[in-house]
């Protein structure tokens, strides 16, 4: 069994939370007491059937306003897979939370209201999916019941979205007509949608080939922590603890430690707190030992000589700005990539991407919350990275405001 992490996105009332509620309900992953609580709540709000969205809208403010503010994580399992769902907000002011949910997902379900077609938020979320290099996209045309299950309506939306997908270089897109409210094409094929020849949504999710974002060629191991017991028996023990974020490491492999450039070979690989193995691969958490006594500490990256990452102090990045305080060129931030944190300055903001038209607006004076800009960042020390497009695991970074300590930006290194 493996894990599929996916995110649902779409405009405010496209029915994301209802879809998740439906997936859990129809696959029998909702418990009786949760259902009772939802029934009670639904009555409180004087609505008709059970409001399945109540399952994910976990905060008081969300239930009061009937909208999703922050990402809720939900879990369900079928005999084929464990699913981790990030239920992300649709509202424009919470786009940063959608980016958060999308950053860890292997697949995105973009909901489109059959009555409205491709809307502003559909574009925005598709652009984010493209920026974040989402391996797979499912476009679920929802509320088909409200357009009499019309094949024409569906086909027109597919044609419209296909244009957008092409412009955004989203190559792996699957389309499906559904009604989350009524359960059409969620777990079972819908009688009302006979003209649709594909599989129901759950079947798609269970069988989609997970293009794990793991790249087995580029070996990358950011050191998180140095284990030094300093006991008599283990006087010389010095193990570098971390998670292999990409690639395969074998005993005897020639390695380089970056950014210093020191070289050595792998003497031993430990897993499970002391068990020796001959090889390990992403995403295993391991402890590495080197043949030579070289200086390695948290923030260093141990790589194989066969395929080296970039090491630089000037980075071209796309930034999704996530703070209410605007980003101003010249401001200093901490840049964190995996376990490395360095001082940095945003030198130059080249252009802003208009997420509705995809146009590039030159040199914006100010960068506001939810803006996406291309910028140059200079760092105080060399940063070890790969291009985000090539290797998501070593190409994403965050900016941290040194005075508030808040994460204010998401960077995709070019």
């Amino acid at each position: 069994m493996d894990i599929l992490r996916f995110i649902t996105a779409g405009s405010v009332d496209d029915g994301k939370s209802t879809l998740i509620g439906r997936l859990l309900y129809d696959s029998k992953n909702i418990m009786v007491d949760q259902l009772e609580a939802m029934e009670k709540q639904t009555k409180n709000r004087a609505e008709g059937d059970i409001d399945l969205a109540l399952l994910t809208d976990g905060l008081r403010a969300e239930r009061e306003q009937g909208i999703t503010i922050d990402v809720a994580y939900k879990y369900f399992t079928t005999p084929k897979r464990k699913f981790i769902i990030a239920d992300a907000p649709g509202h424009i002011q919470y786009t940063r939370n959608m980016v958060t949910g999308a950053s860890n997902s292997d697949l995105i379900i973009i909901l489109v209201d059959a009555r409205n077609g491709v809307a502003e938020q559909t574009r925005r979320h598709s652009i984010i999916a493209s920026l974040l290099n989402m391996p797979q996209v499912i476009v679920a045309v929802n509320k088909m019941d409200l357009v009499d299950y019309s094949q024409d309506v569906y086909n027109n939306i597919v044609i419209e979205y296909a244009k957008l997908a092409k412009a955004l270089e989203l190559n792996d897109v699957t389309y499906i007509p559904i009604s989350a409210l009524n359960g059409d094409n969620i777990v079972d094929r819908s009688a009302a949608l006979q003209w649709y020849e594909g599989d129901p949504l759950l079947h798609l999710l269970e069988n989609v080939e997970v293009q794990k974002v793991i790249n087995l060629d580029k070996a990358r191991f950011p050191v998180q922590y140095v284990i030094r017991p300093q006991t008599e028996a283990l006087h010389d023990y010095r193990g570098y603890a971390g998670k292999i974020i990409s690639g395969i490491y074998k005993k005897g492999d020639a390695i380089t430690v970056l950014p210093s450039g020191a070289t050595s070979t792998i003497k031993a690989i430990e897993i499970d707190g002391g068990k020796l193995v001959d090889e390990a691969f992403a995403p295993q958490a391991v402890v590495l030992h080197t043949e030579d006594d070289i200086d390695i500490s948290r923030g260093d990256v141990i790589v194989l000589n066969s395929d080296l990452p970039q090491t630089a102090q000037e980075l071209e990045v796309l930034i999704c700005w996530m703070d209410t305080k605007p980003l101003v060129a010249g401001n200093k931030y901490l840049l964190q990539i995996n376990s490395t944190r360095v001082r940095s300055v945003v030198k130059n903001i080249a252009f802003r991407v208009d997420v509705n038209s995809l146009q590039k607006n030159d040199s914006p004076a100010q960068v506001e919350l939810n803006d996406i800009v291309k910028a140059t960042i200079k760092t105080a020390h060399p940063v070890v990275y790969d291009s985000y497009k090539d290797l998501r695991a070593n190409g994403g970074a965050v900016l941290i405001d040194e005075t508030s300590n808040v994460t204010v930006g998401a960077c995709m290194i070019q």
């Binding site: 007491d33 980016v99 958060t100 707190g273 958490a285």
Partner: protein, 302 residues
């Protein structure tokens, strides 16, 4: 490619170990909150994998309400002793006396809320800047919203509207003095994942997780252990029942489930077949209101 594939439990394990090591790498004075329940026992097992042959870079800390199951306390002491790690215990009883706190009244008067005072005092006493906990997002819908690194202000309060974006596997543990972070390594595990992992790793648990005879009173469909901490009324019906505990909290607010399951296998079969959620079946304290957990978290609770 096929040779390089991780099973889902391995993937979850690796994610958790990564979080543990981020806490160790980013904080000066972390602590592992350890209750003797299955989730925190799983955390200890993961910490062994993350840091052995080294010592844990944190002590185990238990906030003892005074209403704990004796079996859980025995197991807590036994495990700390066995792995040779430091255990710090602080008692809610002492906080109540020192601060003249008012205890809840009623049949199942619980110290669940008061334990937050002791926790915050303990954080202050030792200067802990990060507390690792075994909360899971599948447990409860407010928990489903919480980040893996959850920043709390100097009053321990969680502000769900001002959570930091948490991207990729990058954890931002930068805080101001006085603030602390609650870190949740098994956020993405479900109840069943934990049990499957316990089975696979052959992790030992306190005896109350397995079927045993117990004197219980039946209250609104739930079985509550007879103890000095609850009020027994004349109308109460006390029965001997074969029960086990699905979660281990305080004796006052944790209900047992009728069960014959005496092995981990049996327990897993029962959990797969059950129609009630973990907290719904066993926690009396969540039933106060729709937002009970959210409110407690906002006040500094886990």
């Amino acid at each position: 490619m096929n040779n390089y594939h991780l099973d889902y439990l391995d993937e979850l394990e690796s994610e958790s170990i990564h979080i543990f090591r981020e806490v160790a790498g980013q904080f000066e004075k972390p602590a592992l909150l350890f209750s003797g329940g299955k989730d925190s026992i799983t955390l200890v097992h993961l910490a062994l994998k993350a840091f052995r042959p080294g010592k844990f870079p944190f002590p185990l800390v238990h906030i003892d309400t005074g209403h704990n199951f004796p079996e859980a306390l025995q197991f807590r002491d036994y495990l700390a002793e066995q792995i040779g790690e430091k255990l710090i215990v602080r008692h809610v009883e002492d906080t109540i006396k020192a601060k003249r706190l008012t205890e809840q009244k009623g049949k199942f008067a619980s110290r669940n809320q008061l334990q937050t005072y002791t926790l915050l005092d303990t954080i202050e006493e030792f200067g802990f800047d990060a507390c690792i906990g075994g909360a899971r997002r599948d447990e409860e819908k407010a928990r489903a919203k919480e980040r893996i690194f959850s920043v709390r202000d100097e009053f321990g309060q969680w502000d769900p509207k001002r959570q930091r974006p948490e991207l990729w596997n990058i954890y931002n543990g930068k805080i101001h003095k006085g603030e602390n972070v609650r870190a949740f390594p098994i956020s993405n595990w479900t109840e069943l994942d934990v049990w499957n992992y316990i089975r696979r790793e052959k992790i030992a648990l306190p005896s109350i997780y397995f079927s045993h005879n117990r004197e219980v009173l039946e209250y609104e469909g739930q079985y509550v252990a007879v103890s000095d901490f609850i009020r027994i009324d004349e109308t109460d019906v006390i029965v001997q029942k074969k029960v086990r505990y699905r979660t281990v909290g305080d004796m006052t607010c944790t209900a047992a489930v009728a069960s014959e399951a005496s092995t981990i296998e049996d327990i897993i079969s029962e959990i797969i077949a059950t129609k009630t959620s973990e907290r719904g079946e066993t926690r009396i304290d969540d039933k106060v209101s729709e937002a009970a957990m959210e409110d407690r978290k906002k006040n500094g609770y886990f």
